[in-house]
Symmetry: C3
Subunit: 348 residues, 3 copies
Amino acid sequence: MTNILNMTLAQIARLIDGKVEGDASMVITGISGIKEAKKGDITFLANARYYSLLKTTKASAIIVDKKTDKNGRPVIRTDNPYIGFVKIMEYLQINKEMPLPGIHKTAVIGKNAKLGKNITIEAHVVLGVDAQIGDNAVVFPGVFIGNGARIGANTLIYANVSIRERVIIGSNVIIHNGAVIGSDGFGFTPIKGVFNKKVPQLGTVIIEDDVEIGANVTIDRATVGRTRIGRGTKIDNLVQIAHNVDIGEHCVIIAQVGISGSATLGNKVTIAGQAGLAGHIKIGDNTIITAKSAVTKDISPDMCVSGYPAIPLKEEQKIKAYRNRLPEIYKTIQELSQKIRKLEKKLG
Amino acid sequence: MTNILNMTLAQIARLIDGKVEGDASMVITGISGIKEAKKGDITFLANARYYSLLKTTKASAIIVDKKTDKNGRPVIRTDNPYIGFVKIMEYLQINKEMPLPGIHKTAVIGKNAKLGKNITIEAHVVLGVDAQIGDNAVVFPGVFIGNGARIGANTLIYANVSIRERVIIGSNVIIHNGAVIGSDGFGFTPIKGVFNKKVPQLGTVIIEDDVEIGANVTIDRATVGRTRIGRGTKIDNLVQIAHNVDIGEHCVIIAQVGISGSATLGNKVTIAGQAGLAGHIKIGDNTIITAKSAVTKDISPDMCVSGYPAIPLKEEQKIKAYRNRLPEIYKTIQELSQKIRKLEKKLG
Amino acid sequence: MTNILNMTLAQIARLIDGKVEGDASMVITGISGIKEAKKGDITFLANARYYSLLKTTKASAIIVDKKTDKNGRPVIRTDNPYIGFVKIMEYLQINKEMPLPGIHKTAVIGKNAKLGKNITIEAHVVLGVDAQIGDNAVVFPGVFIGNGARIGANTLIYANVSIRERVIIGSNVIIHNGAVIGSDGFGFTPIKGVFNKKVPQLGTVIIEDDVEIGANVTIDRATVGRTRIGRGTKIDNLVQIAHNVDIGEHCVIIAQVGISGSATLGNKVTIAGQAGLAGHIKIGDNTIITAKSAVTKDISPDMCVSGYPAIPLKEEQKIKAYRNRLPEIYKTIQELSQKIRKLEKKLG
């Protein structure tokens, strides 16, 4: 395996705030899911449904909760086994994967760029005039950061990302490969002699702290003002966010969703994959939008909506159930017609 | 604000062909939407619906039409206030955002490349053998332009775009970050011993003048012949255009649309977001295809279609309305059944 | 035309294992589809439906099967005319389009990288520490290949592709521009004080031999373990493949499809454009999923499914047909109601 640990159970228990039952000096060399685990790995059991795997897994140790019968296996007990597992992954992540600080000689740094402490700027990066990079930020190869753009502290930008001029990105943000932040909004207007005259897009994009943006996502800059992605929001791959969209805090937007211009999302909104939102609508806090839905108008807070146009999920499910019974409904109607004809005949 | 103007009302009025009412020497420092405007900004009022905002906006001046009551506010009167606003944005765009001409020392220019006058080729651009760049074209960092590709005059190509060999791009074209033009069409054929043998894609792509192509769009090259994007067509982000597609002039294609191989679009076709078109179909001039539709066969000119499979919008809307009444329809049928049973009983 | 041949009919016949009827010394200068062909081109006739075009095509020669009446035209006869045409295209591809081997001076090669024989690494490529490149592989400009990643022999990677650390890519693989392989899976978990804590994604991606990956595709790395794309599978543009997905051999996945986390596909599965698959489901061998479908649960082998949620295609088609008759169904119900009212009246 490539994710190599080299820790005793005792060390791991300390890391994840757990307690060993079994040989605390046993050396663990890898981590894995409970099905795929092999000798030397540590795994976890978070769901009682998979209890039978605790007996059969090839893992050398299992992280379990405080009550699970360990069935004679070496375990680490902790309050939340999954969180324990995540903590090991974080430890591995921090210690193995990050490049060393420094500015590669092939990087092109614009005039008056402000560079924070301990930053990493890798090969072929282009940083525009007046751009800023916060402390400890890491910029992978081939990234373009336009004039006047600002990147916050501890932010991680993967290879071949494009960030246009004046875009503002907060701290602790992660931007995956190929994402585009600050491309022109899609704005045109008819004008004498021109079918679709381009409307310049002079606004910007603001990405707040703790946001994660997936690979090949596109976020357009505002016409004037800003497109905003609120603090803690997580955006999956290939999502489209149009100009002047305002996304609140801690939203979760799954892959291939499209959000049209000037739509406003509250906080903690969840949008499942391939859904689409019309322009200029307002989505309340805590709303859930199911996969492939098309939201065409405002949605009140705390709703779960589905379908095209999106309506409350339960209504949509009911309608879908009846839709599947359409052949039966049609048959019933024909039978009723026949019966009525018979009755009519009888009555003359 | 980042979009800094520094013009008097008189200067702005001259720029947009308008007439000041109020202090013509007032200095304007920014532009903004009417809701977000603050002191020093100029904004516009294009829709009578928002008239009340004219009284409350914090903007220092408002562009209005020839008839609107100015309510004591400083205004510039012009025929079309939105177009006036767009003209100011264009002025800002031209004067502030464009990089200076020149070829960056890290750019790699292929043999026999033909470079026009006054071009800008930024850092880490790769220009292939025999490639051509027209006068005043601007190529941002990290762009790849393949052998024999041709870029027209005044064309603007943003960072990290990939243009494959022999692709032909017209004048006044804008291509946003991460777009891919000329990738292989998706063509395979079964052949003895191979399940899916690749069919080489030897054609090309032709992008005509005045086209705009969104971020992370993909346009495949033709198998033989060419994929074509007609003059003035505007393509939003993350759109997929397959091999041998032929798109007419002045079409508008919204984000995440997919167009399958060899489909043909007439002129002034509009396709809303996340719609999909089957291969080898023909879409007539002035057609409108609504969001998320699936067009499976030819569409006559001047139609507005919707749904899956796409049918005329009014029909689809009618069917959708009935679909939502399915629970009611089902209930009615059950009531009718009961009534008939009663009648049958009565009649013996 | 840009695809210039310069071969006699006799030479072409030898290349495609065919037999000339006509002047074998005639020089052919291009290839083309039968409709677009012009003087000097060779084309093919694979479908009897287009026989009339054999008489009218401007092509100088036509590849036909063993039985077709050549109508006095110069032809090459071969078992499968389309395969013959593909062979010419392959010949052109091999002889014209590939860059020469070598490592460009602007490429950055990490420590301990293992470079095979006869490889091509073009400008501004970044190859990580411990990365491996197989014999004859071609890497276009601007590609990023992370630490420890491995690229097999004869593999072709187009410009601006991003391949993250430790990803393993087989032989004879083609990866189109802008594709991202190995970005973090979309995994978060609630934890004390944090709404969505990132779960590190420490697994990898394995791309097996003979796979083709389209432009701007995104394939996420596994949380632990690997995301897998099986041998011979072909993936079109803008497809999203989430973490821990396992795709079998010889699958065909059309543009803009999204596959959620931990879904498993058998061999020879076909997924048409813009379809979506839920997470953790299992799709059997030889399954076909129609365009825009939403697959929400396991699908047995050899099924063709459609709709949302996806059901057997024939059922979905039937339901769709009845759906379109909903206005008629509604009208019938109203008529039946009236008739019943009349009957009730009669019966008192």
